[in-house]
């Protein structure tokens, strides 16, 4: 049970405080409700590029990192298709330094030309390092584009292409900032060796005077139901054939999300999972195979990806996957097998909650979903899942006409 206090400033900033006196540290986590799904298709990769620019100096403070490091702190940030999260940890006595830094960059960035010029290059190198200069590195660009026709999940967080990042202009940066980086679009979580009254006072002092800005209303077209099987075959300079399959699944807000999550564990969550045991160990068709999803807030992708054993016919390998999918569609999962994946989920959640930093991040995430306390309700939702649910969702999701398949072949 994670305890926390919650209050909202008059400008709309939500503040959550989680006390843990067992650590000398404090964590300050600021989540902005903006991700790659809020971009337009001609300017992708912007939310992530913007995350880099948030370290390039704010209106009153030339450098973000230096004063934080001087206060004994460290920080990082990440951007997903759904959200952007910034977090730092520092000795609790220096908590105010984090408030000073975070509030100033919520107030306004410095919009430095130099920072934009440099970070464009840095992000381009990041793009190359992860998606161009790696075997199979382009597959998710292609898969997203195949699976989504309307919804902005059709591009990756890093962006659709290098040119979008290379062409980003300072005006785009300003516009993006004032649209999305407002108090009413943010969640502040303060955790660790802190007192709620003190946090409230600091929050009022540093964040209270920031204008609330115009509330951003998200208006994203829903991805229409997919009604035909989609397939692509690629030939690339890779040593082994691989297969990638995705199906549209429920959103993060649906009870079926939990059913789907457990279903991915049954099929591909570790060494005793079905796909690994049958296809890697028994039939030896794959060198490795995984089943997972992305935890997306809007309707995401249920995914199976595997690398074939050299010499195996890809058609045969896909049929073997299909056979396993048939089993979850046609037969009830064993009660013990369901208990196994529930146990695993319980354990994962306990380990995740060990560090104050993770707890702070989770609280911000669940507050984004609607209520920080959902964090404490989460496991109950998994416990509700029964074997009939698994079969129903398997039938609904794992349909051919809902599927996207890439054969990624060695040339």
């Amino acid at each position: 049970m994670i305890k926390f206090d919650r209050f909202v400033l008059s400008n709309g900033l939500k503040v959550l405080v989680h006390q843990d006196q067992s650590t000398p540290m404090a964590v300050v986590n600021v989540l902005y409700d903006v991700g790659a799904r809020d971009e337009v298709e001609s300017k992708t990769g912007f939310a992530h590029l913007f995350e880099h620019l948030m370290f390039g100096g704010s209106i009153n403070i030339p450098e973000y990192d230096e004063p934080l490091q001087l206060a004994g702190g460290e920080n990082n940030a990440y951007t997903t298709n759904d959200l952007t999260n910034y977090y730092c940890q520092l000795p609790a006595e220096n908590l105010e330094t984090a408030f000073w830094l975070e509030s100033d960059r919520m107030l306004s960035l410095a919009f430095s030309k130099k920072s934009l010029d440099v970070q464009r290059k840095v992000v381009c190198e990041e793009f190359k390092e992860h998606y161009i200069n790696k075997p199979y590195g382009d597959v998710w660009h292609i898969m997203r584009d195949l699976a989504y026709k309307v919804h902005p999940y059709k591009w990756m967080t890093i962006g659709k292409e290098l040119s979008h990042i290379e062409n980003a202009q300072l005006d785009d940066v300003k516009h993006f900032f004032f649209k999305h980086y407002t108090p009413s679009n943010a969640i502040l979580v303060v955790a660790g060796n802190v007192e709620t009254a003190h946090v409230r006072q600091l929050a009022e002092k540093w964040f209270g005077s920031i204008p609330s800005g115009e509330k951003y209303i998200r208006n994203i077209a829903e991805e229409p139901m997919q009604n035909e099987e989609r397939r692509i075959t690629l030939k690339r300079n890779v040593p082994m054939d691989a297969i990638y399959k995705t199906w549209h699944m429920s959103s993060r807000f649906d009870q079926d999300y939990y059913v789907t999550d457990l279903l991915t564990d049954i099929l591909g969550g570790g060494a005793s999972s079905r796909l690994y045991q049958t296809l890697v160990k028994e039939k030896q068709l794959f060198a490795h195979i995984n089943c997972y999803h992305f935890g997306s807030l809007d309707r995401g992708l249920f995914t199976i990806e595997g690398q074939l054993v050299k010499g195996i016919d890809i058609k045969l390998a896909e049929e073997a996957i299909e056979l396993e999918l048939n089993k979850v569609r046609e037969q009830l999962v064993d009660e013990r097998e369901l208990e196994k994946v529930k146990n695993k989920t319980e354990s994962v959640m306990a380990f995740e909650d060990m560090s104050v930093m993770n707890r702070a991040g989770s609280l911000a995430f669940y507050e984004l979903l609607g209520d920080g306390n959902l964090m404490n309700e989460e496991f109950k939702k998994y416990q509700l899942v029964n074997t009939a649910d698994l079969q129903r969702v398997a039938k609904e999701v794992l349909r051919d006409t809902n599927s996207n398949t890439i054969w990624y072949l060695a040339n």
Binding site: Q89, G270, K281, F351
Partner: protein, 426 residues
Amino acid sequence: MLNRSIAPDIKDAVAYQIALKKPELFQLDNGVTVYNVQAGTEEVVQIEWVFKAGNWFEQKKLIASASNFLLKNGTSSKSAYEINEFVDFYGAYLNRSCYNETAVVSLHCLSKQLAHILPLVQELFLDAIMPEEELMIYKQNMKQRLAVNLKKCDFIAGRKIDALLFGDKHPYGVYSEMNDYDALTREELIQHYDSFYKNGHCTIFSAGILPNDYRELLNKYFGNLPFNKTVSKDLEHSIVPSPEKKLNILNDPDGVQGAIRIARPCPIPSDPVFQKLQVLNVLFGGFFGSRLMTNIREDKGYTYGIYSYLMNHIHASAILISTEAGRDVCEATVKEVYHEMEQLRLHEVGKDELLLVKNYLIGTLLGDLDGPFHIIGRWKNLILHGMTEDHFNYYIDTIKSISSKELKQLAEEYLNPSDYYELVVV
């Protein structure tokens, strides 16, 4: 009116007293030492069984890592699947990893499940059989993994720089080829298992919220195993550094980035100089505000990230600079690395920057000691290097007291380009 351009007052992190919480220490009936840190907020446990079974002790390439991997792939009475199923059912994680001197089996689980899983772990140390079929699958899949890795410039660079520093016959420099996997036999793995696990030298590190009877539990399952009976001889391996210092490799003609590795030997972690070098390393390339990152990423934009490291080997260490940079700026990146070395050799670091580095180091150390798993991790590192709490305290004192002058002297000795191996792989 709030003046946002003035920073709030801070307590310098160097003013903090840092103490490493002592572990409980006890011995099982067979002499195995257990270090335990009983602490935490969640009902979880971590136990690590550390064996002297790394590639330092292998007779042939890959024997140590293969036997470590196959340790949980079958016993006389349980198949690999049954073992995995059992562990997964209790929501536990049973992993194994092979290093140079040591090989480790680690268990993470909810405290309430610990008693269910320990008998299985015992069985692995008594009766692993490494079936032929499992070995066959392992070879095939590892060869495929190697084939994919060989396409990556960072992978090629990582193993080549080790070979340049230590020689490709030394455990720190050795790397595997396809035919090394083909040459593995079950008999050799069993032999390694027999000598270095079943009848090997074991130390146990545990942490978290352990059940009240954990001493009895550990003694029941691991106190009567034939561990620590023979004194393992400390094998010698000689280092044969490459005579060639500069190397360019073209691995992928279409590559858009180059993997850069620049390295030289340095004193080992138990040497007092190492603790001082750690501070120099942070200043030079060990954190986001370092000289390398500030210049090469944040000013020039040549790379997504650049870091320098001190290798944590027991017998020989090295300073390593590592980055992936745009293909057309690799040369410029190398030049800037040497430029930053020169700056540290020629000029003393300013007071403010030094204080920043010190505060950052102490602050992150405070954060790193958060929770029982991190605390036992620190102890494990000290103990495996033959160090004590004094070394840790000395490190803290070093951070607090080291001067700009000392750092310049260290730079003069350890940051000379002519001492470095320089490798670029595209």
